[in-house]
């Protein structure tokens, strides 16, 4: 069992306690402590706002609290499930802002760089290998597809915003997003095995 698997096992145990009823919020609090930091990183990349990022984090955790039974045991890790919810909330929040165009222009000029695991040696032990896998997976993409992923996932830019930022037809953006996701899925899933 890998470190990540062990960590997920702990998260699953905590989620199970939330599902069963967690009157003092003890298990929920531990889930928060274990995952809020990375959840905020995701939200912060999208919103570029500390306040909005923490709002997204809080709403993501409340979504988990409200419907813990929606976690599918057969699929993602608890952390990834949580990050999916936090990312979606961050995108919702940022879309409501009128600064989308400005953000798009800024984002187009600033390629995303995943944090070097060496920058944060106190992070969980699993992180370096996980980050390395993701970096390798992103590096395996053609530049044109990687740009789409960076703008959409890490910057919260909509499909139209990406098309405008990159000067591409919308259909091209969509097809690049799909091709990139197919490849990422293949590479990352294989890496996990």
């Amino acid at each position: 069992m890998s470190v990540r698997d062990m960590e997920d096992a702990r998260d699953r145990e905590l989620l199970g306690r939330v599902r069963a009823g967690d009157p003092e919020g003890t298990a929920f609090r531990e889930l928060f402590r274990r995952n809020a930091g990375v959840a905020k990183s995701v939200a912060l990349r999208v919103t570029r706002s500390d306040q909005l990022a923490e709002e997204a984090v809080q709403e993501g955790f409340l979504q988990l609290w409200r419907a813990p039974e929606r976690f599918d045991e057969a699929r993602a890790t608890v952390r990834r499930w949580l990050l999916t919810m936090v990312h979606a909330r961050a995108v919702d929040l940022v879309r409501r802002e009128q600064a989308q165009r400005r953000r798009t222009e800024e984002a187009a000029a600033q390629p995303i760089v995943l944090a070097d695991p060496a920058d944060d040696v106190v992070a969980e032990v699993a992180r370096p290998s996980e980050a390395a896998s993701v970096r390798a997976a992103l590096a395996s993409l053609p530049e044109a597809q990687r740009q789409v992923i960076e703008l959409m996932y890490f910057r919260g830019v909509s499909q139209t915003g990406v098309a405008e930022a990159l000067g591409l037809p919308l259909g091209t953006v969509k097809s690049r997003a799909l091709l990139a996701m197919r490849k990422l899925r293949t590479v990352l899933v294989e890496t996990e095995r």
């Binding site: 609090r29 928060f32 809020a36 990375v38 999208v46 409200r66 419907a67 993701v134 499909q159 997003a177």
Partner: protein, 245 residues
């Protein structure tokens, strides 16, 4: 076997956060059209969501505000987890814990202040999605697509598609949690401080396709609340989804 090419493309965009209202509606239609028995749709959705989340999981953690943990736990404890306190209204209590946006605040105020309600009559719950009526409707020129924004941690996605004349539409949803036992979702339009019921609905396998009629052109927002199965004429809880018209 159904063709999933376009669904796959839309699900990839959804996972990346790039989906926009028009395509959101198209995806909801596809998912409903494929139905709860389609094995490929949920698999694709989960796989793409998981793939996207793997990108985020590799980021180095950021520090959170000192009080965020306590605020989040307190907000959670003001409501019960759905699994252990079935029957409690989902919108109760915790809305003050999250700074509401102006739009949501307006909707909350509108509902809270509502005294007069002109009900147009509940439409009778979930209607299985016939392919042609929905597709024909969405294929009209000038259909307005308005996404709902979830509040208070409500999951899933919902879209309101309004006919060009502003008097009819469809509410399309996917990935929605079932309401607590004995409860239903109720949809409203709100003009000023006056809410009007559009009907009650319970998702089937997270999906909803509900034809609605109302004065959408005049309404300020559409909202969804959790209500008793009686489908009351007046909203009794805060909205869990809001769409600004």
């Amino acid at each position: 076997m159904r063709d999933h090419t376009e669904v796959e493309e839309l699900l990839a965009l959804e996972a990346l956060g790039g989906l926009e209202p028009g395509d959101r509606g198209r995806l909801d239609v596809f998912l409903v059209e494929h139905g709860p028995d389609c094995e490929e749709c949920p698999d694709l959705r989960d796989e793409f969501a998981d793939t996207a989340a793997m990108l985020g999981a590799a980021l180095a953690p950021n520090s959170v505000s000192d009080d965020l943990e306590d605020r989040t736990v307190s907000a959670a404890l003001r409501r019960a987890p759905a699994s252990s306190h079935v029957g409690r209204v989902a919108g109760d209590g915790a809305s003050t814990a999250i700074a509401p946006t102006h739009r949501r605040r307006n909707a909350l105020i509108a509902i809270a202040a509502a005294v007069v309600l002109v009900a147009v009559g509940a439409l009778g719950g979930y209607l299985a999605a016939p392919r042609n009526p929905v597709e024909s409707f969405l294929g009209q020129q000038g259909v307005q697509i308005v996404p709902f924004v979830p509040s208070d941690g409500t999951g899933g996605a919902m879209t309101l598609a309004v006919a060009p004349d502003g008097t009819s539409g469809y509410v399309l949803g996917s990935g929605l949690a079932a309401p607590p036992s004995g409860k239903t979702y109720e949809l409203w339009t709100i003009q000023g401080k006056t809410p009007t019921s559009l009907g009650c609905v319970v998702p089937t396998n997270g999906q909803v396709v509900l034809p609605v009629t109302g004065s959408f052109a005049a309404a300020d927002v559409a909202a969804m609340t959790v209500e008793s199965n009686a489908c009351p004429r007046v909203p009794t809880t805060s909205p869990v989804m809001v769409a600004t018209l």
